[in-house]
Symmetry: C2
Subunit: 208 residues, 2 copies
DNA sequence: TAAAGTTTGTGATTGAGTTCTCAATCACCA
DNA sequence: TGGTGATTGAGAACTCAATCACAAACTTTA
């Protein structure tokens, strides 16, 4: 296919396709059609084919997609074919959960540095990672870490973001309920869990 | 304004507006224009006005929106003007963080029931809530709890969802990386944290 | 009271993303 | 080798959401 701007929504769905493909491979399925993937992920077959077509032609007409080959392609597109290291700031309730979570590995992601400002936490070793003082954030520069995760209170989020950017971070996953002001070259994705939950009652039947 | 279907995206933004309004009120601001709100939330003024206009005319030309009044309106629209109780299933790393989080209160949400299947956790009392056996999920029916939060491993998510639906739950926030099959009357929102994080490397500069 | 300056609410417009459709491609089999 | 059936890839059509732009509504000031 020819030159095209890739919709953000397409990028958002790519990891889902990867998850579906991994699921297929676990079950020993070698080839999967867009229709079968659709049943697994509940994304329309046309959507899947169009999304993939932005990046090239990976399928075989009459057969579908080779699960292993397509997974590799998607990993390449997402740049998770080589491992990515991430720095976590804020080892509170949420930060601890993230650090202990083994599921990031499937996407080539690893939390390999942790920072906090609580003297009671600094120096501790959790999951083989030593908790460092947040003032040492600048040491990230020498560690080839380009991703940051913010799990500090909202009041500290902006200053942490500033420090991360100064330390060479180029992508931030932010859990604090706060809009982060960063240079354009830095990509921020915010997950505000409370806000997502707050949206559920809207869909409840009126009677309740 | 005339009859209109409300875009899902609009509903998604309503809690943001509420957050902005609360921020304003904390600072003693009585009236706020769409332009000022825009600077706070980084959503365009036109977007804010259009979103609000789906539900009525809440502002005053030349002045803006009364923060207290608009906050009340939005709470009403989202149905969080009266408290909503939620049941949490899975008191692992993530579930514990959620249970301890005080920020849900701002949206009238409260986790008032917790379930797990680990005998070592059942019976414990955390944050004044007693952890119950997951087999007792049906008791929710008598408690007027309409919201559920799933924080169990992916392999258990569907069965937990089924049990929640059977117990009368009508809205589910799911953290398991799995598509949940539920009746149409039940609204599911899934947050797959790993998948969101997996999207960040895509935006990194090619050199890295 | 009148004129100047804001800001809302919304119809019209633009733009982005999804779905439709079908010719082209490939595996399989007789 | 040619026919059958399945499935892709991508242009066209469509749907839905975001932005524009301005009349109407309000405040302030003199
Ligand atoms: N826990 C949840 O379920 C949940 C839900 C929604 C949103 N959030 C948001 O996620 C963020 C973290 O939540 P949490 O529950 O883990 O909070 P927490 O209070 O448990 O942990 C915050 C951690 O950040 C550290 N910290 C504070 N200021 C710091 C600074 N300037 N530099 C470095 N570290 C600092 C603290 O020492 C603590 O370890 C908050 O912004 C919260 O609003 C959490
Ligand atoms: N922790 C994270 O940062 C993180 C990140 C992304 C996704 N997730 C997802 O969130 C979910 C929970 O993650 P976690 O880290 O808290 O896992 P966890 O293993 O720490 O906790 C899971 C909890 O669920 C309980 N449980 C298991 N089966 C159950 C069942 N059938 N009924 C009731 N309870 C049951 C376990 O006893 C345990 O307490 C998982 O699906 C995980 O993939 C977590």
């Amino acid at each position: 296919m020819r030159y095209h701007k890739i919709p953000d929504e397409t990028v958002r769905r790519l990891p889902m396709y990867l998850r579906g493909l991994l699921l297929c491979r676990e079950q020993g399925v070698r080839d999967v059609s867009s229709r079968k993937l659709s049943e697994l992920l509940h994304i329309s077959p046309a959507q899947i084919r169009k999304d993939l077509s932005y990046f090239g032609a990976f399928g075989t007409p009459g057969v579908g997609y080779d699960t292993a080959k397509l997974a590799k392609q998607i990993r390449g597109i997402l740049k998770i074919d080589t491992p990515n290291k991430a720095a976590l700031v804020g080892l509170g309730n949420l930060g601890s959960a993230l650090l202990k979570y083994p599921g990031f590995g499937a996407y080539g992601l690893q939390i390999s540095a942790v920072f906090d400002n609580d003297p009671g936490k600094i120096g501790k070793i959790v999951k083989k990672v030593k908790v460092e003082d947040v003032s040492k954030l600048s040491t990230l520069k020498n560690k080839n870490i380009k991703l940051g995760i913010i799990a500090v209170p909202a009041s500290a989020a902006q200053s942490v973001a500033d420090a991360l950017v100064k330390a060479g971070i180029r992508g931030i996953l932010n859990f604090a309920p706060f809009y982060l002001d960063v240079p354009k070259k830095v990509k921020v994705i915010t997950i505000d869990i409370a806000m997502v939950l707050a949206r559920l009652p809207y869909y409840l039947p009126a009677s309740a």
